[in-house]
């Protein structure tokens, strides 16, 4: 792995992508809001301007037209309308017609469509049935205007006008296009800048992430001094803290290894002591039998009894040696668990049980073979049994019940101790706790069990734990992985 291989990601996306993308999205959202606001302002302004221009147009026309409308002078009305085109070019009037009080056209700027002296077509007049002076019709790109001509408090006629507002609509489209283009360009530009800025800003995090990743594989590495020196104050402090933490973790690892070694030696000592004890017991009897043979070997019944005692003693020693060899043999290739492995456990635990005068409740209900790795399972159960021996009072009983439930191998280890302390319960039930030992005073037995559980994707359950005793269940998923390795 190199410094460039980043895996500090969230939901599968790198921060250097997600942050600029989020910023870009926010900017896009702001752009949309701003665009809508700007467009609505443009529309309002256009509408206001159009209203004002239309009012000015209608005011100007009314003032000029009234004398001519009073006289119903066709030419003068036409002349005024025709000349007003140039004067109000900004309004882009398509046509304007003036009617008299009887709704007959006096003149129109489009005389062929609205001939003088003809009634205003009802279909056209209907388009102007609104109260205000002006009404915008976006669909037709038209502004329709109407104004009553009042002379001496009497309506003497009306002005009808239609203006082409396609230029205003086009202006609105231009504004929209310009806003969208500018905002899109800005958003894209800022996203790109954001991407590179984030990459630059997250550079130290990237480095730290890589060092942490490397640490997962083994010993944690220190960030080199020259790399720390290149960082800003905040990251320099972070890197120094990381280095301190890495040193602490490494030291803890060393201590744990030492501890494990000590425990191993202690175990070897205990084993040697147990074996010596186991050998010593028959040895005493065997020596007595040998002594009897020496003294009374001539006597048939003494000779037979002594030989039987010697045979029993030697058989016991042979069994002990065999189980020890089976357990600690060098060949530790993965293989499936058999009932014999569990019988060996009985032999292995016997010295410890005898020492504490414990009775064994041994229930093995498995059909050969069970597809779980034999060595770590047996090791884990042995450690649980040893713990049970240690916590149970002298003369009491410990139990082992083994079986297969569905796709799971289960082993329940029961003691008659005073129940588990809280920190130990928490340690047993916590997932991934096998990465470090419980604590120094608790020994490494439980840690070894947890490590085996983690390796085999299994777990521990506390079935019950009170002042009368504790039952811990080891659960290992059964698979066919070791079937052919047995």
């Amino acid at each position: 792995m190199t410094l460039r291989d980043s895996n500090w990601v969230r939901n599968g996306w790198s921060l250097s992508i997600t942050v600029p993308a989020t910023v870009a999205l926010l900017l896009a959202a702001i752009s949309i809001v701003v665009t809508i606001r700007a467009l609505s302002r443009v529309e309002e302004t256009q509408q206001r301007n159009l209203q004002e221009l239309s009012s000015a147009y209608l005011d100007g026309l009314s003032a000029s037209l009234i004398p001519s409308v009073v006289r119903e002078d066709v030419w003068e009305v036409y002349d005024i309308l025709d000349n007003s085109r140039a004067r109000y070019r900004g309004l882009n009037v398509q046509w304007v017609s003036v009617t008299n009080g009887d709704q007959k056209i006096i003149a129109s700027s489009a005389p062929e469509r609205f001939p003088p002296l003809e009634p205003m077509p009802a279909s056209d007049a209907a388009l102007f049935s609104f109260k205000e002076d002006v009404m915008l019709v976006d669909s037709d790109k038209q502004a329709r205007m109407v104004r009553s001509l009042v002379y001496q408090n009497q309506e003497i006629g009306k002005i009808y006008a239609v203006a082409d507002i396609s230029a205003l609509m086009a202006e609105r489209s231009d504004v929209l296009r310009e806003l969208v283009t500018t905002n899109a360009a800005l958003t894209l530009c800022l996203a790109v800048i954001g991407y590179f800025a984030m990459r630059w800003l997250l550079g130290p995090v990237h480095i730290l992430s890589n060092f942490l990743s490397w640490g997962r594989a083994g010993t944690m590495q220190q960030v080199p001094e020259q790399v720390i020196a290149q960082q800003s104050n905040e990251f320099r402090k972070l890197f120094e803290n990381y280095n301190a933490m890495a040193a602490a973790v490494n030291e803890r690892e060393v201590l744990a290894s030492e501890l494990a070694e000590e425990e191993k030696l202690a175990s070897v000592g205990r084993l040697a002591s147990g074996m010596a004890h186991e050998i010593n017991n028959p040895l005493g009897g065997m020596l007595n039998a040998l002594d009897s043979l020496k003294r009374y070997g001539a006597r048939e019944e003494v000779r037979a009894t002594s030989v039987r005692l010697l045979e029993e003693g030697l058989t016991g020693i042979r069994d002990l040696v065999r189980s020890t060899l089976t357990t600690y043999r060098v060949d530790q290739r993965p293989r499936d668990l058999t009932a014999t492995d569990l019988d060996d456990l009985r032999l292995l635990i016997k010295p410890e049980a005898r020492l504490r005068k414990l009775r064994l409740d041994w229930r093995i209900e498995i059909a050969d073979p069970v597809h779980v790795p034999a060595v770590p399972v047996r090791d884990a159960i042995l450690n649980l049994l040893l713990n049970a021996c240690h916590t149970s009072p002298e003369g009491s009983m410990i139990g082992l019940a083994v079986g297969v439930r569905g796709n799971r191998f289960v082993a329940d280890v029961t003691d008659t101790g005073a129940g588990l302390p809280a920190h130990m319960r928490e340690y047993i039930e916590r997932k991934g706790a096998g990465s470090s030992p419980l604590d120094r005073r608790s020994g490494l037995g439980l840690w070894i069990v947890k490590r085996h559980c983690d390796e085999m994707k299994g777990w521990l359950e506390i079935l019950n734990s009170n002042e009368n005793g504790t039952t811990i269940r080891l659960v290992i998923p059964v698979s066919g992985e070791f079937e052919n390795a047995a």
């Binding site: 002078d73 066709v74 030419w75 036409y78 002349d79 025709d82 003149a107 005389p111 062929e112 001939p115 003088p116 002296l117």
Partner: protein
Amino acid sequence: MLTGLRRTCRRSALKALLGLGTAGRAWGASPAGIVFGLTPVFLNNDIELLAKLKAYLSRMTGRDVQLVQRRTYEEITGLLLSGQLTAAWICGYPLVQYQEQLALVAVPLWMGKPLYQSYLIVPADRKAASIADLRGDLHAFSDPNSNSGFLVTAALLAEMGESPDRFFRKTIFTYGHRNVVRAVTSGLAQSGSVDGYVWEVMSSLEPDLTSGTRVLRKSELLGFPPVACLKRLAAIREVSLIRDALVAMSDDPDGRALLGMLRLDGFAVEPSSLYDPIAAKMRLVRSIDG
């Protein structure tokens, strides 16, 4: 005959320039100056043209010249008859209407003659062959006191035993020959009566406007709208000065520039009999109206 008259005119102008005129000042508007009336007989009010005309007349007459414009012939004729104008460029119709009070000062020459025509125009795409096809139209006249823009068509209808009000559905007066062309081109009017001289000049200056019209009928040649004065003031010096200045226009660079703008060849002194055909039309129309 016309050449001889023009020679006479030039002599009069010379006399006027030499200060040999004898008339007194009978009008009240400007005792020391000249007040010259203009009708919209020609192209629309052209500020440059008016400025040049004023400058030319002032220089040639040696008097302060004031140009007076009115919208209608009636207004200018009224000012002229009331003695408020030294002279005015009016139409042949008012001249014959008030032939007892008015006298000719000079007549413009167009295409070398003191004559012009009245045109009956229709939209360019209209299929009409004669005036009979125009019955029921909205017809645009120029001015009720215009010869070409009213009287000629009214007389033509009178010959048919009709009057404009009966023959046409509606008549409108646009008070300008150019406006008649505008009214017909735009479709406001279905036909119009217009000064042939104005239409021809417009067809070279504003072809887009005249191209929307078609000349349905040209009248016979009639006396060009003249410059006239009150008969009782015809002998005063200012009138002579005006006549001389007008007649001398074609001999003067500024005058020629003015004539160029007006598309005219000059001014001449013509006999009042030039307007007899117009007087005959007037009588014909009056006989129908009566």
